[in-house]
C-alpha cells in the first residue's frame, strides 16, 4: 500500500507484526504436531490402532507445551511488540493479488492457542477413556487432531484466506466427528446439515474476502488494518455484514443456528471441544479479529448486537425445554455465544469481554459437556434427563465438577462466569438499555434452565431405567473434569487488574470507557438478583415436583415452540428444503423436457421426417417409374413455361 495510514487517537490498531525469529519455528510446530498426528493416524491405517490414541494425545499436549512457551515469551515482551509473524510460503498469486501462509501470533492468537490446546489436551485425555470401547478410536483421534490443527490454522493465519482454510478445516473435522457414528442415519444427516449450513456462512466469508480484496487490494490483516480507515462506510458495513454472516454460520447464531442442536449426535468429547469450547466460538474470533472493520462501522455492529441478542434469548429458551442433556447444553452454548457476539458487537468496549467470556465459557462449558458425557457413560448412553435423578451420590466427582461449571455459567461469584458475564451485561447496559435488558433476562433464564438441568440430573428422585447402575467414570475421564473445574472456578483471575483487557489492547485497541448510570456494583447485584430468581423458579417448578419419566404432551405453546427449537428447523424445512426439492425436481423435468427436449426433439423430428419419407421407397418399380415420369413431365412443363412465357 502506498498510502500511509493516519494514526490518531481513535484509530483502529494496525497489525504490524515483527518477524518472529527463532520462535517462528515453534509456531509452525504448534500447528504441525497435530497435523502430523492426523496424517499418521488417518493414513496409517490399522497399524496405528494400538497406539493411535496415545499419539493423538501426545501431539496436542506437545502443542500445549509449545503454546505455553510462546505465551510466556509474548508475556515477556512490551505491549507494542506483541505481534509476531512467521513467513512461510506464498499460497497463490494472481495479478496483483497475493495470498501467503504467513502466520500471525499476537495476544488474541495467544489466548486462543492456550484455549484450544489446553481444553483440547484435556478432552483428548478424556476421550481415551470415553472412546475406549469404540473400534474406530484411532480414527476418532485422527479427526480430533485434524480439528486441532485446523483450529490453530484459523487463529494463527495472517490473512482472511488463511482464516478461511482453518475455517473450513474445522468445518470438515466437525463434519467428520458429528457423523462419527455414521451408521446412525441421524448422525450422518446432522453432519451434513452442519456442513451445509456452515457453507451458507462461508458465502459471507468468500464474498467478504472478495470485497476486501476489491477494496484494499489484499486480504492480509496487515494491509487491511492499515487501510481500513480510508475505506468508505458503505464498503465497511458491507464487509462487516458479510463477515457477520460467516460468523453466524460457524457460531450457530440466528438465523443459521439450527445445526448446533443436531450436532449433538457426535460423541460427547466432540460436543465439548468443537461445539462448545472452540470451533463455535470462531465466529466471535472472526469479529474480534476484524475489529479494524467493525470498529469503524456502527451499522454492522448494530447488526451484530441484534444477532447476539436474538440468539442469546433463543438459545436460552430452547435450553429450558430440552430433556436431552446434551441438547440443553447446546442451547446454552448458543445462548452463551450470543453473549459473546453481543459483546463483540459493542465494539472497542466489548471485544475484550467477548474474548474473556469466550475463554471462561470454553472452560466451564467443556467441563459440563464432559460431565454430561460422564453421566451418560454411567447411564448406558441415555441422554434423557427425565431418566436421571439423584445422581450426586452415584457419581460424586462428576457431580462436584459439574456443579462448579453450573455455578460458573449462571454467574455466581467468584466463579469464572460471573466475572465475564457481568462485564458483558454492564457493557450492554452502557450501550443501550434494551440490549442490556436482553442480556439480563438471558442471565435469569440461564439460571433457570441450568438449575433445571442440575436438579433433574443430580437431585430429585431416581427415575433410572431398569438395569442401569450408575457408576463413577474411570480416572482418565475424571481428571480432565477436575482440570476443567479448576479452570471454571479460577477463570475470573484473568480479570484481575483488567489483565485481559490490557492484554488484548494491542489487537483490539484501547478499551472504550463505559458510561453506566448506576455503579457497577449495583449492576452486579441486580444481575445476581435475577440469577437468584431464575434458580428459585427452577427450584419451585422442578425441584419441588415429581418429574414424569415421559415428557408431558399437554404443554403451553411456549414450551412446544422451545422444544421445536423455536421452529428454526421447521422454518428451514418448509421455506427452503421443501420448495428447494420441488424446485430441483421441476428443474429435472425442465432439463429433460425442455433443454434436452429441444435437442432430442430436433433429432426426433428429423428421424420422423425421414421415416415418413422412407415410405416412398416402397420397392415397387412402378412407383419409381411414376416418379420418374412425373419428374419428366415437370421438366417438360418447365421448359414449356420458359419457352412460352
Amino acid at each position: 500500500m502506498s498510502l500511509t495510514p493516519l494514526h490518531d487517537a481513535a484509530a483502529v490498531p494496525a497489525v504490524h507484526p515483527t518477524d518472529a525469529g527463532s520462535l517462528g519455528v515453534l509456531l509452525l510446530l504448534v500447528i504441525g504436531l497435530p497435523a502430523l498426528g492426523a496424517a499418521v493416524l488417518l493414513l496409517g491405517g490399522r497399524r496405528t490402532d494400538k497406539w493411535g490414541h496415545l499419539l493423538g494425545c501426545a501431539t496436542v499436549i506437545g502443542s500445549l507445551v509449545l503454546s505455553l512457551v510462546l505465551f510466556f515469551d509474548l508475556l515477556g515482551k512490551d505491549a507494542g511488540e506483541r505481534q509476531l509473524t512467521q513467513d512461510t510460503w506464498t499460497w497463490f498469486t494472481a495479478g496483483s493479488y497475493k495470498v501467503t501462509f504467513d502466520l500471525l501470533y499476537d495476544p488474541l492468537s495467544a489466548v486462543f492457542l492456550l484455549l484450544i490446546t489446553g481444553v483440547g489436551s484435556l478432552i483428548h485425555v478424556y476421550s481415551v477413556g470415553y472412546m475406549a470401547h469404540d473400534e474406530r478410536r484411532r480414527r476418532f483421534f485422527g479427526y480430533l487432531n485434524l480439528f486441532v490443527a485446523a483450529m490453530l490454522v484459523l487463529v494463527l493465519a495472517g490473512d482472511y484466506v488463511g482464516v478461511f482454510l482453518g475455517w473450513e478445516g474445522v468445518g470438515l473435522a466437525s463434519y467428520l466427528l458429528i457423523g462419527f457414528w455414521q451408521h446412525k442415519p441421524s448422525a450422518a444427516a446432522a453432519a451434513k446439515k452442519a456442513f451445509v449450513i456452515n457453507r451458507v456462512g462461508d458465502i459471507g466469508l468468500s464474498l467478504g474476502a472478495a470485497l476486501i480484496f476489491v477494496t484494499f487490494g489484499s486480504t492480509s490483516f496487515t494491509v487491511v488494518s492499515a487501510a481500513s480507515e480510508h475505506a468508505g462506510d458503505g464498503v465497511l458495513t458491507a464487509i462487516g455484514l458479510l463477515l457477520l454472516l460467516a460468523a453466524c454460520g460457524k457460531s450457530a447464531q440466528f438465523p443459521l443456528q439450527t445445526w448446533l442442536l443436531d450436532a449433538m449426535e457426535g460423541p460427547t468429547p466432540v460436543s465439548a471441544l468443537i461445539h462448545a469450547a472452540t470451533m463455535v466460538t470462531a465466529g466471535v474470533y472472526l469479529i474480534v479479529r476484524s475489529n479494524f472493520i467493525f470498529s469503524l462501522t456502527e451499522d454492522a455492529r448494530t447488526a451484530v448486537i441484534v444477532v447476539g441478542c436474538i440468539t442469546l434469548l433463543m438459545g436460552a429458551i430452547i435450553g429450558c425445554a430440552k430433556d436431552d442433556i446434551k441438547k440443553a447444553l447446546a442451547g446454552s452454548t448458543m445462548s452463551q455465544i450470543g453473549y459473546m457476539v453481543l459483546a463483540a458487537g459493542l465494539g472497542p468496549a466489548g471485544y475484550a469481554f467477548a474474548i474473556f467470556h469466550l475463554l471462561t465459557h470454553g472452560a466451564f462449558k467443556a467441563n459440563m459437556f464432559l460431565g454430561a458425557g460422564s453421566v451418560m457413560h454411567g447411564m448406558d448412553d441415555d441422554v434423557n434427563m427425565r431418566h436421571y435423578g439423584a445422581l450426586q451420590k452415584a457419581m460424586p466427582l462428576t457431580f462436584a465438577t459439574f456443579a462448579v461449571g453450573y455455578l460458573a455459567i449462571i454467574g455466581v461469584p467468584p466463579f469464572a462466569g460471573f466475572w465475564s458475564k457481568d462485564k458483558i451485561i454492564e457493557s450492554a447496559f452502557a450501550d443501550n438499555f434494551v440490549v442490556g435488558l436482553c442480556a439480563l433476562v438471558g442471565a435469569g433464564v440461564t439460571a433457570f434452565y441450568m438449575s433445571r438441568l442440575m436438579l433433574l440430573t443430580f437431585f430429585t428422585k431416581k427415575r433410572w431405567e431398569k438395569g442401569v447402575h450408575p457408576h463413577e467414570s474411570p480416572n482418565v475421564m475424571t481428571w480432565p473434569l477436575i482440570g476443567l473445574a479448576v479452570l471454571s472456578a479460577a477463570g475470573g483471575l484473568l480479570l484481575v487488574n483488567d489483565w485481559i483487557v490490557d492484554w488484548l489492547t494491542p489487537v483490539v485497541g484501547e478499551h472504550a470507557e463505559e458510561h453506566l448510570s448506576v455503579s457497577p456494583l449495583v449492576m452486579s447485584l441486580i444481575a445476581l438478583l435475577v440469577v437468584a430468581l431464575g434458580v428459585l423458579v427452577a427450584w419451585v417448578f422442578v425441584g419441588q415436583r415429581d418429574v414424569p419419566r415421559e415428557a408431558p404432551v399437554k404443554v403451553s405453546f411456549v414450551t412446544r415452540a422451545a422444544r421445536a427449537e423455536l421452529y428454526g428447523d421447521a422454518f428451514n424445512e418448509e421455506v427452503i428444503v421443501k420448495p428447494g426439492w420441488s424446485g430441483v425436481r421441476g428443474l429435472a423435468v425442465f432439463d429433460r423436457g425442455f433443454v434436452d427436449g429441444i435437442v432430442e426433439g430436433t433429432a426426433a423430428s428429423f428421424a420422423g421426417i425421414s421415416s415418413r419419407f422412407r415410405l416412398a421407397q416402397n420397392g415397387f418399380v412402378r412407383s419409381y417409374a411414376l416418379a420418374l415420369l412425373a419428374g419428366a413431365a415437370m421438366v417438360l412443363l418447365a421448359l414449356l413455361a420458359v419457352n412460352f412465357s
Partner: protein, 248 residues
C-alpha cells in the same frame, strides 16, 4: 400421307390395346401390329433400310423372343385387374395424360417448316448412304455395339444357366436306378411304348394298343391326357370294328 392416316389410328388403337390386353400373348400380337405399321411408316419416310431392319429385328427376332418367353413363363399367366398400390393407377393415368398432353401440345406448337426430304441424301441409294455414314463417322460406335451385343449374349447365357446342384448320374447309375424301380415298384423296365403302335392312328393323341386290345396309358403325353384330348380305348375299338366290318 395416306399410309400415315390409315396406319396411325391402327397403331394408336393397337398401342392402347397393349394397355388393356389381359393376356401377354395378345399384347405381343398387338405390339407386332404396331411394329409392322412402324416399318411401313419408315418405308414411307425414305428409310428402306430401317424398314427391313425393323421387320427383321423387331418383328422377327425380338417379338419372337417375347413369344418364347411367354411360352416358357406360361401362356395363361395373365394380369389381375385389381391395382395393388393404392392410387397408383389413377396417378399414372393422370401423370401420363399430363405428360402426353404437354408433349403433344409442345410438339404441335413447334413449326418444323417444310421437310427437306432425303432425296439428295439417298441419291446413291439409301443403303449405301447409310453404310457410308455408319462405317465412317460412326464406325467406332458401331464396333462398340458389337461388344455390347456379345456382352448381352453372354449375359443372357449366364442368367439362363442353371448350376448343377447334384452330380450328373452316369449311365450305370441310371440303369441301376431303373432296375431298382422295377424291383420295388414294378415299374416297366424298357422304354415307354410310343403312341399309335399297333393302332388305327399313329397321332400323338392316340394311345398304343396293348396286345389284349386295351389302350396303353403310358404311351401318350400326360399333358394331352390332362387336356382330355386323348381318344379313349372304346372309341378306338369302334374304329377297329368299323374297319373290320368294312373289310367284310
Amino acid at each position: 400421307m395416306v399410309a400415315f392416316w390409315i396406319l396411325a389410328p391402327v397403331m394408336v388403337a393397337a398401342a392402347l390395346g397393349l394397355l388393356f390386353a389381359r393376356k401377354a400373348v395378345h399384347a405381343a400380337l398387338l405390339l407386332a401390329v404396331v411394329m409392322i405399321s412402324l416399318a411401313v411408316l419408315y418405308a414411307v419416310q425414305d428409310a428402306p433400310f430401317l424398314f427391313a431392319v425393323q421387320i427383321i429385328v423387331y418383328t422377327g427376332a425380338i417379338l419372337m423372343l417375347f413369344l418364347f418367353v411367354i411360352m416358357l413363363v406360361g401362356v395363361d399367366a395373365s394380369d389381375s385387374i385389381v391395382e395393388t398400390i393404392r392410387g397408383h393407377r389413377a396417378a399414372s393415368i393422370l401423370v401420363g395424360l399430363v405428360f402426353g398432353l404437354t408433349l403433344v401440345l409442345g410438339v404441335a406448337q413447334v413449326s418444323f417448316g417444310a421437310p427437306l426430304g432425303l432425296d439428295e441424301a439417298n441419291s446413291e441409294g439409301n443403303i449405301p448412304a447409310v453404310a457410308k455414314i455408319l462405317f465412317t463417322r460412326y464406325v467406332f460406335a458401331f464396333e462398340i455395339t458389337s461388344a455390347l451385343l456379345i456382352t448381352a449374349a453372354l449375359g443372357a447365357m449366364v442368367l439362363a444357366h442353371r448350376e448343377r446342384l447334384t452330380p450328373k448320374p452316369t449311365q450305370a447309375q441310371l440303369a441301376a436306378q431303373r432296375v431298382r424301380d422295377y424291383a420295388e415298384h414294378g415299374k416297366h423296365l424298357g422304354p415307354l411304348p410310343p403312341p399309335g403302335v399297333f393302332a388305327r392312328h399313329n397321332a400323338v393323341d392316340t394311345p398304343a394298343l396293348l396286345p389284349d386290345g386295351t389302350a396303353a396309358e403310358a404311351s401318350i403325353s400326360r399333358v394331352l391326357a390332362a387336356r382330355g384330348t386323348v381318344k379313349s380305348a372304346p372309341e378306338l375299338a369302334e374304329d377297329v370294328k368299323a374297319l373290320t366290318e368294312g373289310d367284310d
